[in-house]
């Protein structure tokens, strides 16, 4: 290539380094849409973290009780709802008794919605509210409620469920008197990365009941030290963990689609990084992008 060719190539690279941000937004929109509509058919292979969480739940026997504490709001729904759905599917297949409570004010509503969707193919759960599952909802000072639940679960939630119905009328709450290994076999905490507060509260308040943490991808490294110490039995890391869970269940769903789509988005961001850096390299005196 002659000097004119190099100059032209450098000019093109410089142009790539100065793309209008509206163009970048448009390209991101197209890429995200394509990722959602046509996710690449990549295989999802379960990793050890997710496998450990799956095996713990597989060891449940019919009628074993599981406590689920939800600490995420509408902002993390896209990542954590599919995970919650996958976990609920497995618990329903194991015929477990499910008790849900919430640490976030929106959690009760989210749990109810996800549970009803997940229970679509499980009439025993769809029609078994108060027998197979219950939603205790949110209570002000939720950390205090959790501590109180280790002594007296119904009293900790003022004796009412998410909808304000008295717990005394449900056969399930007569069985589950306290959040202890005597009444429960397993617990889940679905935690949004706000300083992993829910997980920390659980670790410090509840003893002897193994906990699995479902967290957004960003939070996964934060949780890892607690897995190493044994305070957390296993983790389900982010949307990828949820996709792996769906693969283990043999029921690919929203998490698998989102995870596959994320590969497309990663390639797109990689392309943008390459363009931006190539543009900067072709224009070394330019300090700001």
């Amino acid at each position: 290539m002659g000097s004119r060719g190099w100059a032209r190539a450098a000019a093109v690279l410089r142009a790539f380094g100065r793309l209008d941000r509206r163009l970048v937004y448009l390209a991101a929109l197209l890429c995200a849409s394509a990722a959602v509509l046509w996710p690449p058919p990549l295989p999802v292979r379960p990793r050890p973290d997710t496998l450990a969480a799956y095996r713990l739940a597989q060891a449940l026997r019919p009628g074993n009780a599981v406590f689920i504490w939800i600490d995420y709001g509408f902002g993390a729904q896209e990542e954590l709802d599919p995970m919650l759905r996958a976990v609920l599917l497995q618990l329903m297949r194991r015929d477990a008794v499910i008790c849900i409570a919430s640490r976030s004010i929106e959690g009760g509503q989210i749990a109810e919605t996800v549970m009803r969707r997940a229970a679509a193919g499980h009439p025993a759960y769809l029609e078994g509210y108060g027998v197979r599952w219950i939603d205790l909802g949110y209570r002000p000072a939720p950390d205090v409620a959790l501590r109180a639940a280790t002594v007296n679960l119904p009293a900790a939630y003022n004796g009412v469920d998410q909808a304000g119905l008295p717990l005394a009328r449900f056969p399930l709450t007569a069985r589950l008197r306290a959040l202890t290994p005597e009444f429960f076999r397993l617990a889940y905490v679905f935690d949004l990365g706000d300083g992993y507060a829910a997980m920390m509260t659980y670790v410090s308040q509840v003893t002897g009941l193994p906990m699995i943490v479902g967290a957004i991808s960003m939070e996964a490294p934060v949780i890892q030290p607690f897995v190493a110490t044994g305070q957390i039995a296993a983790t389900i890391p982010g949307i990828r963990g949820a996709a792996e869970y769906e693969t283990l269940l043999g029921a690919p769903g929203p998490a698998t689609a989102l995870d596959r789509g994320s590969a497309l988005v990663a390639v797109f961001i990689l392309l943008l990084l390459a363009l931006g850096n190539a543009g900067a390299a072709a224009n070394p005196e330019r300090q700001e992008g």
Binding site: N152, S262, A263, G289
Partner: protein, 200 residues
């Protein structure tokens, strides 16, 4: 007044510590303490509501910049309050607001973040120094390795996993230990009345 607040805080802290250390978690005394905490939460929420309402009422009354947004906030507060009082916090009205107003608003806000991150990655993530190059390469490896592409290219996926499980976890552990020690020291200072900045 400040001395009374410090004294009350110290007494509450000693009470909570004592119930934990003496194993009185299941006692009636601890239950009373729990009720006091819940009442404090409720009181703080009410105080916050009054403060927020007062600030925005003044802004509307004085027609300060952005007063229309304040009006919107006050309308939202009054409207949602009316819905909850007319039914209850779990009623169909409140549920409708949660599912059809709050949920899409949150989704929109978080959805927008993806665009800003993408644009920022393009404009600002430049390998100008060797350190920036290492950061960039690490970000690329973790980003790609944490997608199903990491399963296709095992070395990349394995390296991303190693980065997350070993160096990142080690760094987080150090941060956690440091932050916890800091929180412990601050807590002790508050309990002993040496730290009074929070009292104004």
């Amino acid at each position: 007044m400040q001395k009374a607040a410090v004294g009350l805080g110290t007494a509450a802290a000693i009470f909570v510590l004592a119930t934990h250390l003496l194993g009185l978690g299941g006692s009636g005394l601890a239950a009373q303490g729990d009720r006091a905490v819940i009442a404090t939460y409720a009181g703080a929420a009410l105080l916050g509501l009054c403060n927020l309402g007062g600030i925005h009422l003044r802004r509307v009354a004085q027609r300060r910049r952005g007063w229309a947004y304040s009006l919107l906030l006050l309308g939202g507060l009054a409207g949602y309050g009316a819905v909850v009082l007319a039914q209850n916090p779990q009623g169909p009205g409140a549920e409708w607001v949660f599912l059809h107003v709050l949920s899409p608003l949150y989704a929109t806000m978080y959805g927008l973040v993806a665009f800003f991150i993408t644009s920022a990655a393009y404009r600002a993530f430049r390998a100008r120094t060797p350190e920036a190059l290492i950061l960039l390469l690490t970000a690329v490896v973790v980003m790609v390795g944490e997608t199903p592409l990491g399963d296709q290219w095992r070395v990349l996926g394995g390296f991303a996993g190693w980065l997350l499980h070993i160096p990142a976890t080690g760094a987080y552990r150090a941060i956690q230990i440091g932050a916890t020690l800091g929180a412990l020291a601050t807590g002790l200072r508050v309990v002993l009345g040496m730290e009074r900045a929070h009292l104004g």
